[in-house]
Symmetry: C2
Subunit: 205 residues, 2 copies
DNA sequence: AACTTAATTAAACGTTTGTTTAATTTAAAC
DNA sequence: GTTTAAATTAAACAAACGTTTAATTAAGTT
């Protein structure tokens, strides 16, 4: 049995991701987490601080993986890009609730500090991918592409299928109750597409 | 001078797009639109109906353009794809407030009917692009790609730079007050990237 | 000019909201 | 077993919310 603090965080993240920050009341959270309403403010002070705590908590987990890929000298440039793709898909699909939450926060222009910290948290990842592509271009493995927009394509494609289940299912001709994100076959399909796309786009032939 | 009904719709769309549906109060809308609070309910009944009216209003405008492209027999397959890209960028950049609004609604899982109608509204566009790519493959102009995910890449890339100004500017190394969506050079850059990407990905060489 | 409908307003209504209080229970320390 | 602090509760609070009401003004019709 998780302790109540954790229970609140987990429940709040789910509800925030589903209904948005303003769309979720503290009473909603408390009820679903089976705790008293006052416990939320007791542990976190305010609703906004709870929100920040969620982002803070999860962000710390998602580091260091891309560094390994970049520094792995056994991999060619294109293999590194492939590893980045798989790492990204795995991470975002697994933590999709949290990912939806911060994407919403990015689109909304409320809470500037939080938005800044989210962006700042993402920039190092961008830089790593950027340096891989730059190196690939320098050494003649890759074509001279628009690096920043190529990164936008990578993340944008994943977001497009990840952020709305309904949209994804209609696009893929699946039924509404199908959950693509838990289907290994679907993950592999997205991975295969992005790898093919990057092969085509990056490699000098 | 616009009439008050229009003024309410325009203001509400802006605020909904910026702050979300629940994050925007009727009083906010009324104040910014310089009308009495009661006018919103007088014209639209409820806040939710106002929201639906906005989506309904705008959706009707955005049709018919892709059909022309598809049926234009002077264009090769790849030229059609290029035309689709430019048409999409133009449309989404111009109506970016509205686009943010419906993207938010897609991510949120509230208001199922509205979500369905948004998805339904988008599917015909998907089908047109799909049929272009299918035809291209059939006639040997295009490679056998993952059609659905290629469409996700097209829309996802645009969304990625369109939905959050702050994210876009940081990715592109621009200052925070720069508004990329009103800069023709930026539009052309996105267009050029997507065309290059689709050339690489689709064309049989 | 009288009448009718539409537009507009300020005020009020009942809920829901985030948060606080004050009292009570549980757990830990001595 | 007594003391002290932490955890938990039900109740209350003020503010903000969407919406309605009832009264007033403006516009259009006969």
């Amino acid at each position: 049995m998780k302790d109540k603090r954790e229970q609140i965080i987990d429940t709040a993240m789910q509800l925030f991701a589903q209904r948005g920050f303003e769309g979720t009341s503290i009473r909603d959270i408390a009820e679903k987490a089976s705790v008293n309403v006052a416990m939320v403010n007791y542990y976190f002070g305010t609703k906004e601080k709870l929100f920040e705590k969620i982002v803070e908590n999860k962000s710390s987990v998602t580091r260091g993986l891309l560094d390994e890929i970049m520094n792995n000298k056994d991999l060619t440039h294109i293999k590194k890009i492939e590893a980045v793709i798989d790492s990204y898909i795995e991470k975002l699909f697994t933590h999709r609730m949290f990912h939806r939450l911060i994407q919403q926060e990015l689109i909304l222009n409320q809470r500037e500090n939080l938005q800044s910290s989210i962006v700042n948290n993402f920039i190092p990842n961008v830089m790593i991918i950027k340096s891989i592509i730059e190196s690939g271009i320098k050494q003649g493995d890759f074509k001279k592409v628009d690096i920043e927009l190529t990164i936008a394509t990578l993340t944008g494609t994943i977001n497009q299928v990840l952020l709305s289940k309904k949209f994804c299912n209609r696009l893929m001709n699946k039924s509404d109750d199908y959950i693509p994100y838990e289907d290994v076959k679907f993950k592999k399909r997205v991975s295969a597409h992005l790898k093919q796309l990057m092969h085509d786009h990056l490699l000098n032939k």
